[in-house]
């Protein structure tokens, strides 16, 4: 252990002096090559298989209230998959997002895990991206124990955006910066997989 610690400490001193050249060092991005391949075309869904609902909520409507609920729920009858989307304030926009997500879901459901579908390709890319990020972070901060606690905390916060994880939704919407609309839609969708029960329970 003492040997391991001594190496970074020795590195640390010259590094602080050489900070400017270090900043200009070009970073290599290994994951960029994976994302370049075009995704296979999206599955076309039959309109007759879908049941769409624009959720407005109950109670008096029209001019008397001004609800901002714009959720759209689409269910695919043959597979029973339900997608609810409220990513944007526009119902027509939400409809489009929900539909494309549903197509991906249905494709993944029908093809299973063996053949590469859009979902599995995307998930794989996300997994690789995260793995490389974690690896880099580990390499960078390895041994800098004095600062490691803070730095890893920051790193963790940044990661939330990339992961399609329902539990990280809160963190995602906390720290999310603009220009990540579609991803937010996807996160929404994962959340919605838990079903409508969730949103009903939340009413206070």
């Amino acid at each position: 252990m003492s040997q391991l610690r001594s190496i970074p400490r020795a590195l640390k001193l010259p590094l602080t002096k050489l900070q400017t050249p270090l900043q200009h060092r070009p970073f290599t991005q290994t994951h960029s090559t994976h994302g370049k391949k075009p995704l296979p075309p999206r599955l076309k869904l039959d309109d007759s298989d879908l049941s769409v609902a624009y959720l407005k909520g109950t109670g008096p409507g029209g001019q008397k209230i001004n609800k901002t609920n714009s959720a759209v729920q689409i269910s695919h009858k043959p597979t029973g998959i339900v997608i609810k989307c409220q990513a944007t304030r526009s119902q027509s926009q939400n409809h489009k997002i929900a539909r494309s997500l549903l197509a991906d879901r249905v494709e993944a459901h029908l093809k299973g895990d063996q053949s590469p579908s859009r979902v599995s390709i995307k998930a794989e890319a996300a997994r690789k991206k995260k793995a490389s990020k974690v690896k880099k972070a580990r390499r960078k901060y390895w041994g800098l124990e004095g600062e490691s606690a803070e730095l890893e905390g920051e790193e963790g916060g940044g990661d939330d955006g990339e992961v399609l994880d329902a539990d990280s939704l809160a963190g995602e919407s906390e720290d999310g910066v603009g220009g990540r609309r579609v991803e937010e839609g996807e996160v929404q969708e994962v959340e919605s997989r838990k079903g409508l029960k969730d949103t009903k329970d939340e009413s206070v």
Binding site: A53, L55, T58, P60, G61, Q63, T68, R89, Q91
Partner: protein, 406 residues
């Protein structure tokens, strides 16, 4: 309104310290989260554009956060989200919203989509029946939107119908000059965004007029404000002048208007005060667009309890717009009339009114088809209507055989 449980507030606070503020107005955690996300996006966008225009030496991070907090405070007082963000999606359009003009509702969007569907159906039906007399049809499809407000109905109808109809004339009418200038701004805005075709600038017109237009003698003061009576505008716009129909109209007159659509003020003054109307609406949206003005005979009495007089023809104060609009609709020989109503009861009252008012000769010549929409489970589920609560619209179609409509 049930109070928010402290546990819910604590849960929301742990999630984000700003959520309890939004929860006050949104009432559910889900919608509060959504609103927070939209507000944050807005705050970030505005701070980005501002820093791009004039780079600020102070940190932009603190600036957008301050902006976000102040917006959440506004929202907690019930200030409408659409006034804060400045717009509201309506169909595929983006409608600008400003204080003093009613915010477009999703219900209205459903009615517009349904109206556009009916007009298209009607056009295909008439094409099929009159292929022999087809002369490339230079007559435009004429649409009239009364009490247009932001112009949302007018603009969305143009967006929906312009691919199908080469000649289209849409007119929006409102009494408020604030609303009209916003409607014109909305037309320009959606043209700029490419959400409307360039034809829209010539096809669409907005005019200021008093739809209710009580006879000038009876009301004196109000009508002397220089607001033209709606019939004057209509007689200039549509081929046939308004006066001829009053006495006797030629029976084979061509319809002057294909679609008359309106979302007039329809809240009764008691519903406005007794808690049925949401706080946010009551406090921050224009009363002019929500509650119809009391006709002169009610204004004089100190307590405005509706005592229907014979002159009013048993019309409740909250229904006075419908009576007037139906009258105009008969004069223009409108093919399809679509009227938004507050609830099923009001819709039924409008139908009763129609049955009473519809000119007998027309009824005989080409029967009306009247319905409250949505009226089946499928439509209600699709558009998210409650099966017995919430708004409805009345659709009156002229010259449709009942066998055709079913």
């Amino acid at each position: 309104m049930p109070r928010i449980r402290p546990s819910a507030l604590i849960k929301a606070y742990r999630d984000n310290p700003l959520l309890p503020l939004l929860l006050k107005e949104c009432r559910t955690l889900g919608s509060a989260r959504n609103e927070l996300r939209w507000l944050r996006e807005h705050a970030l966008r505005t701070s980005q554009t501002r820093t791009r225009q004039q780079p600020n030496p102070t940190t932009p991070l603190a600036e957008w956060k301050m902006h976000l907090i102040s917006m959440c405070r506004q929202r907690s007082r019930g200030y409408p989200l659409q006034y804060i963000l400045g717009d509201q999606p309506f169909g595929d359009l983006e409608i600008l919203c400003r204080p003093g003009v009613l915010i477009p509702r999703p219900d209205t969007e459903s009615y517009v989509v349904q109206a556009a569907k009916l007009v298209e159906q009607m056009a295909t039906a008439s094409e099929r029946s009159s292929t022999s007399t087809d002369k490339n049809d230079p007559k435009p499809l004429r649409i009239l939107d009364l009490c247009t407000g932001t112009g949302c109905i007018t603009l969305l109808l143009h967006a929906l119908l312009s691919p199908r109809f080469e000649h289209l004339r849409v007119m929006g009418i409102d009494i408020s000059s604030k609303a009209l200038s916003l409607a014109r701004k909305n037309l320009d805005h959606n043209l700029q965004q490419g959400l409307l075709t360039h034809r829209a600038s010539t096809d669409i017109q907005f005019h200021r007029a008093d739809v209710l237009g009580f006879p000038p003698g009876a009301d004196g003061g109000d009508d002397a404000d220089g607001i033209p009576n709606v019939e004057k505008i209509l007689s200039e716009y549509f081929d046939q002048p308004g006066e001829t129909e009053m006495s006797e109209a030629p029976l084979n007159l061509e319809p002057g208007c294909d679609l008359l659509i309106s979302n007039p003020p329809y809240i009764s003054s008691s519903d406005f005060r007794n808690g049925t109307t949401a706080r946010s609406v009551r406090l921050f949206e224009p009363k002019l667009a929500l509650v119809p003005p009391l006709p002169p005979q009610f204004q004089q009495s100190p307590n405005p309890t509706p005592t229907p007089t014979s002159a009013m023809g048993d019309v409740r104060p909250e229904d006075i717009f419908y009576r007037r609009i139906l009258e105009l609709s008969y004069k223009l020989r409108t093919k399809v009339t679509v009227l938004e109503c507050g609830d099923i009861k009001q819709a039924e009252r409008v139908i009763e009114m129609h049955n009473f008012m519809a000119p007998g000769q027309d009824r005989f010549q080409d029967p009306f088809d009247v319905q409250v929409w949505p009226n089946n489970e499928q439509d209600m589920a699709f558009y998210g209507f409650h099966h017995n609560e919430g708004s409805r619209c009345v659709i009156i179609q002229r010259g449709v055989r009942s066998s055709d409509s079913k």
